[in-house]
């Protein structure tokens, strides 16, 4: 489905056409869910948070400053809601240390990954992302999946631009390390 620009639907909602909000929900629901799910790592909670956030956005739509992007404003609401609702539980994951990829070049890792089938690649990257910390996995999804700019990520998460850049650099490295580890494990098994 082709959507018009967000501001078109925002104006309609502001003029009393409530049904126009459904277009905004449909357009942004997947990314909204991903943001919440990256933080809380639980699909039921993520769905509830995403829904609450859309309702908050609807109630506060008059406060939305039209010079900003609606999606960035909405994602910021979702991020804050998810953070505030996150239970302080320790998620057990095998922490990836800041390993230096001395043994393999990134090109080699990319080449190795490309040898895998689509399904295997999907499993490997899912595992690598799941092993990242919540906020790191959110950053990488915003950057690569939603193709958000550094400025937008900074606005959503409240991190500084330079902090976002540094974090993205480190997360990329972590993902490559994990992909190579998985590849090595598979080779050993074979």
């Amino acid at each position: 489905m082709k959507y018009k620009k967000d501001i078109y639907y925002v104006e309609k909602v502001l003029n009393g056409d409530t049904s126009a909000f459904a277009y905004l929900v449909n357009k942004h629901k997947e990314m909204a869910f991903i943001i919440a799910n990256r933080i809380v790592r639980n699909k039921e909670d993520a769905e509830e948070i995403a829904q609450d956030s859309f309702l908050k956005a609807y109630q506060a739509i008059e406060k939305f400053k039209k010079e900003a992007k609606f999606s960035t404003w909405l994602y910021r609401i979702i991020y804050n809601t998810a953070i505030s609702k996150t239970r302080k539980k320790k998620i057990e994951f095998s922490a990836i240390e800041d390993q230096i990829i001395n043994n393999y070049s990134i090109d080699e890792i990319v080449e190795n990954v490309n040898q895998l089938s689509d399904e295997e690649q999907k499993i490997q990257i899912d595992n690598a992302i799941e092993k990242l910390e919540e906020k790191d996995s959110l950053l990488i999804k915003l950057f690569y999946l939603n193709e958000s700019t550094i400025d937008e990520i900074s606005e959503i998460t409240g991190l500084t631009n330079s902090n976002v850049k540094v974090k993205l650099h480190r997360i990329r490295k972590k993902i490559y390390v994990e992909l190579q580890n998985s590849f090595q494990t598979e080779l050993n098994v074979v």
């Binding site: 409530t18 049904s19 909000f21 459904a22 929900v25 449909n26 629901k29 997947e30 909204a32 869910f33 991903i34 799910n37 699909k43 993520a46 769905e47 995403a50 829904q51 859309f54 309702l55 609807y58 990134i106 090109d107 990319v110 990954v113 490309n114 689509d118 690649q121 999907k122 490997q124 990257i125 899912d126 992302i129 990488i140 999804k141 690569y144 999946l145 990329r172 993902i175």
Partner: protein, 146 residues
């Protein structure tokens, strides 16, 4: 060098796009819109009740004051009735039974004497409460748009 980095980044981007299996439930949008609609409906009923109560009470107060002013102040002699210009003493003589009734019901307050004005005010309030309840019963389930 820059090209290499971009190529690697494209590879990572493709991998991440492939991996995405995070999707909300099918009725995600419907659930939100239902909540929004429910919110609007509740709001319109609340707004109706508030405005209805405000206008109703205002109207009743004005009508009551006007009616009693008319009854008490108007010169009724042209009707050739035995009714003379009513005054508070006359009203006191008309309603001694009501006075007695209230005094007997409120045994503990039997020493307290009700003036005619007190009884009129009390009666008006009770009547208004009943009228209010009666009107609400037939109007609250409807949807009002103002």
């Amino acid at each position: 060098m820059e090209k290499d980095i971009n190529n690697r980044d494209d590879c990572l981007k493709n991998l991440i796009k492939k991996s995405t299996n995070e999707k909300p439930s099918i009725d995600f949008t419907e659930k939100i819109m239902q909540k929004i609609e429910a919110g609007i409906e509740t709001e319109s009923i609340e707004n109706y009740e508030k405005s209805y109560q405000k206008w109703w009470w205002l109207l009743v107060v004005i009508s009551t004051v006007t009616l009693f002013s008319f009854l008490l102040m108007f010169d009724w002699s042209f009707l050739n009735f035995q009714i003379e210009k009513p005054n508070l003493d006359q009203i006191n003589t008309i309603i001694p039974d009501i006075q007695k009734f209230f005094q007997s019901v409120m045994g503990l307050l039997s020493n307290l004497k009700f003036s005619s004005i007190s009884i009129i005010i009390l009666g008006t309030i009770i009547m208004l409460v009943f009228i209010d309840k009666f009107i609400k019963r037939y109007s609250v389930d409807k949807k009002y748009v103002f």
